[in-house]
């Protein structure tokens, strides 16, 4: 235990910079994943046939072991000279994040009480007004739950991305293993977990703040 604290205090600046790398990697991936996943999820509610296909594809992607996906990204992205590092990691994380985000958004919008949707239509709301005023506010908890799942998932998988040179806290774990430095491994593991917990709780807070009171 004291060894751990000792290690952390000695290597603090490195740990910090790995943490920042990790946050950047996951942050960028998530923002893009949300920008794709949420609108797509919403669109899918209007296209049942596509929904089935997309959700199936997304769920297959999620079954691909992360290390395998990272591996496969290297030769593919080498074609555009981006085989290692940030880009393949970000792409992989975006892919992994899609299923929870799309599925939850889709379910959230779809699960809005049909009566409520009917009432909104009957009142003369346009499709867009309905989405903004009724469907998204009411689906928000579920949509955010998807984002949270994706975040926790991405933070964990981000640690594996270190093997393809994307940096981040995975480097601590991996170097720790190869140097037989268990404090380093532990630090990496704890840091990743704490990061995941903080991100999860922060998103939960955001979710609370933005979820209309009547829906909570």
């Amino acid at each position: 235990m004291s060894g751990l604290i000792d290690y952390i205090s000695r290597d603090f600046s490195n740990i910090l910079s790995y943490t920042i790398e990790h946050i950047q990697l996951v942050g960028v991936a998530l923002i893009i994943a949300m920008l794709i996943g949420i609108p797509l999820g919403i669109y899918l509610t209007a296209n049942e046939d596509l929904a089935e296909t997309v959700l199936q594809v997304a769920s297959i992607i999620l079954t691909i072991p992360s290390i395998a996906l990272f591996g496969v990204m290297i030769p593919i992205l080498s074609v555009i000279n981006q085989g290692v590092g940030f880009l393949p990691a970000v792409i992989a994380l975006i892919l992994y994040s899609q299923l929870p985000i799309i599925r939850n958004t889709y379910t959230a919008i779809n699960n809005v009480d049909p009566n409520i949707r009917d009432a909104a239509k009957g009142i003369g709301m346009t499709t867009f007004q309905r989405l903004i005023k009724v469907e998204i506010p009411n689906g928000l908890p579920l949509i955010m739950a998807g984002v949270r799942t994706a975040t926790v998932l991405s933070i964990g998988i981000g640690a594996i991305a270190a093997f393809i040179g994307s940096g981040g806290l995975g480097v601590l774990i991996n170097s720790g293993i190869s140097r037989g430095n268990s404090n380093m491994v532990l630090t990496g593991a704890i840091a990743v977990s704490i990061l995941a917990i903080i991100a999860d709780q922060t998103l939960k807070l955001i979710q609370r703040k933005f979820t209309p009171k009547g829906v909570q």
């Binding site: 290597d11 600046s13 000279n81 085989g83 093997f163 940096g167 480097v171 140097r179």
Partner: protein, 276 residues
Amino acid sequence: SSGDQVTVGAKNFTEQFILAKMTELLLEQEGYEVEMRDNLGSTALRQALENGQVDVTWDYTGTGLVTYNGEDPIADVDEAFARIQEVDGEQGITWTNISEVNNTYTLVMREDQANELGIESISDLSDYVNDNPGEFRMASDAEFANRPDGLPGVYETYGFEFGDAQVIEMNYGLNYDAIGNEEVEVAVGFSTDSRIPELNLINLEDDMDFFPAYSAAVSMTTEIYEEFPEMEEVFQRMADILDSEIMAELNYQVDIEQRNVDEVAEEFLQESGLLE
């Protein structure tokens, strides 16, 4: 040339982290802005270099010749360096600043067991394995187990083979733990790795001179070389003061004393007068 951006690459073992860190410190002192891309496997790093995702890295002549270019191994240090300069030169990669560090692969055994069984060289090992098939297990990282200058080449040269289940592959670094804990009888080591003496392991003699020279040298894209020719001089300061013993000592500080890479690199450069 302040604000010029250089990406320094490194593989996934301690020596590489140290070399990369030193490079970073020196370049930053010269006003470059340095980015790191570390924790890569040899060939992945090489690929990144070819892609231009990495500009500069310390690599090993033997690795360059055999693994990257499929050439025959060359035992002579200078010959090897000249050859790799030539071969890679044609592919837009420039090698410079060869150092006295020779970090060759080595097969290691526990000293007591080796003495007991009378194994001193790889040939002895070969005989033993051939006489007692299935007895010895070997720990190796994935690279060595599959590189042409790794196990396959050793098998071919020395005429023996471990069974499939006998070779246990693991993250580099753990192989020392494996052999130290007597979970295997043979392990691959890097000759500058301080864990070899620390764990009372002995290097088996490469009596058929299979392993080439693995002199550490700078490998960079010709593009960056031409853009910042003055970098060669900076790296030369490093190459001048490094040799295998010093490298082993630095590795020792990180791997055994568990000091942090940045500290070790910085302290060493400062003590050598290369860094303020």
